[in-house]
């Protein structure tokens, strides 16, 4: 464990508070913020790195013969297993379908791997599987293979699920995180912050009740609408899951080497989500979503993009929330409702409820 004193500051002063260095995995490494990014960059990429992986897209696109195939994998460890609006099963299907859709690929097949904790009730398992089956059927994407393991009591939070999906990319429709360009419009397909707040409300220790359902949903139909209306001019698609809209925008800004400007007044936050965030001192921009997408499209097509999304029930609250700029590359800046400006940074780790 690093015990060094803080580095020397200019003028010979030494700050007595030591630099916090981690020698083991922290919960914050899983939160989708800077710690997660550092974990990938410093530990995973050096060991596994290859040109496809370096892209760190939501899905990998590989050539198999003449076809462009997208592959994505995701592991779901959510607790509690069941929450308003879904459960870990539906989440596991939607999550991977969405990762494929964000690369512009049409999801075709899924696999599902389960780690079951000894003692998990069959009633709960059945509900999880039913939700998975339903989500897969509604999407028209079958789970064609899978695996099940059981571990001792205490070694898994009820159940961990991994889903892997493959899909087919279409010619000419190649959204990617590095394709954002100055003057692009940033469009969101729906209300933000619902999933994270729904999860938090289902946990006991914060003790609040809120009428918010997770927005967990299959995004591919909306992607199809966008492809139909705008074709290859869609530059970026991203579903802002863990780390929220803020983290997703920061990642895209960094990958594309551009800045992003947001309008606070344009952000669609449902009343109960805003209220829960106020109570806990959280910022809705950092709360996880599972059923909305962000789209970066050239400015002249912003209205068409919004209209295309609104044609689908899930996209009825779609709107433009910002734009891409050539200034402050890699940084997301927001114009506040009262006309000031603030930086919307990546959080180091989890957003912690605050009392101040």
């Amino acid at each position: 464990m690093a015990e060094e004193r803080g580095p020397a500051l200019a003028g010979g002063l030494v700050c007595p508070v030591p630099t916090t260095q981690y020698d083991r995995v922290q919960l914050g490494h899983g939160s989708g913020g800077k710690m997660s990014a550092a974990l990938l960059r410093d530990r995973f990429l050096p060991a596994l790195g290859n040109p496809v992986l370096q892209e760190l897209g939501d899905a990998a696109v590989v050539g198999i013969g003449p076809a462009e195939v997208a592959i994505s994998t995701d592991t779901f460890v959510v607790s509690p297993l069941e929450f308003p609006g879904g459960n870990i099963g539906s989440l596991a299907v939607h999550g991977t379908l969405n990762d494929l859709a964000m690369m512009g690929a049409r999801p075709l097949y899924l696999s599902a791997g389960f780690v079951l904790e000894e003692g998990l009730s069959f009633e709960v398992l059945d509900r999880i599987l039913a939700a998975m089956g339903k989500a897969a059927a509604e999407a028209g994407v079958p789970v064609v293979t899978g695996d099940t393991k059981v571990v001792e009591r205490g070694k898994a939070d009820g159940v961990f699920i991994n889903t892997t999906g493959i899909g087919m990319r279409r010619a000419g429709f190649t959204p990617g995180p590095s394709r954002a360009r100055p003057s692009d419009a940033v469009v969101v397909s729906g209300m933000i912050g619902r999933h994270g707040i729904a999860i938090m409300s289902a946990r006991e220790n914060l003790g609040f009740e809120v009428q918010v359902q997770s927005d967990s949903a299959n995004l591919y139909p909306m992607v199809e609408r966008l492809r139909g209306a705008l074709g290859g001019t869609v530059h970026v698609l991203r579903d802002p899951t863990r780390g929220g809209v803020a983290s997703a925008l920061n990642e895209i800004a960094a990958a594309s080497g551009v800045g992003v400007e947001l309008d606070e007044g344009a952000l669609p936050v449902p009343g109960p989500v805003a209220a829960a965030c106020e109570m806990l001192g959280l910022d809705p921009l950092y709360v996880a979503n599972e059923g909305i997408l962000l789209a970066f499209v050239p400015a002249p097509f912003a209205d068409e993009a919004v209209d295309a999304l609104r044609m689908h029930p899930l996209g009825r609250d779609a709107r433009q929330i910002g734009r891409v700029t050539g200034e402050h590359p890699g940084m997301v800046v927001m114009r506040t409702a009262i006309g000031g400006t603030r930086v919307v940074d990546m959080l180091p780790g989890d957003q912690l409820p605050r009392i101040c």
């Binding site: 409300s201 003790g207 609040f208 009740e209 809120v210 009428q211 918010v212 449902p270 009343g271 109960p272 989500v273 805003a274 209220a275 829960a276 106020e278 109570m279 001192g281 605050r354 009392i355 101040c356």
Partner: protein, 99 residues
């Protein structure tokens, strides 16, 4: 240490002698200890809540009065502002930069 937010009391009960209430924060509800405001508040009143305790009753009359005054001021100001903008645009200086 000051994250206190306003909410509306929608229900009152007791927990082993301690006065409690269910407070609605605009779509989120939570149990709140009302011990420090118990004689002042009724269902329908607003309170400021900090770490699960109501620390004051919102004085709605005062709040309304002062906010109306602020709004009037801002409407008056808009007229002045428009005059300002008209004047300053001639001299090329933004109105707010006046010392």
């Amino acid at each position: 240490m000051c994250l206190g937010i306003p909410g509306k009391i929608i229900e009152r009960h007791e927990d082993a002698g301690m006065p409690m209430g269910t407070v609605d924060f605009g779509g989120v509800t939570r149990d709140v200890c009302l011990a420090y405001v118990t004689d002042e508040v009724s269902i329908g009143d607003y309170v400021i809540v900090h770490v699960g305790f109501a620390i004051s009753k919102v004085d709605e009359e005062e709040a309304r009065r002062t906010f109306e005054a602020l709004q009037e001021m801002s409407q008056l100001d808009e007229l002045e502002w428009m005059k300002d903008v008209a004047q300053k645009s001639l001299s090329g200086m933004p109105p707010e930069r006046r010392a």
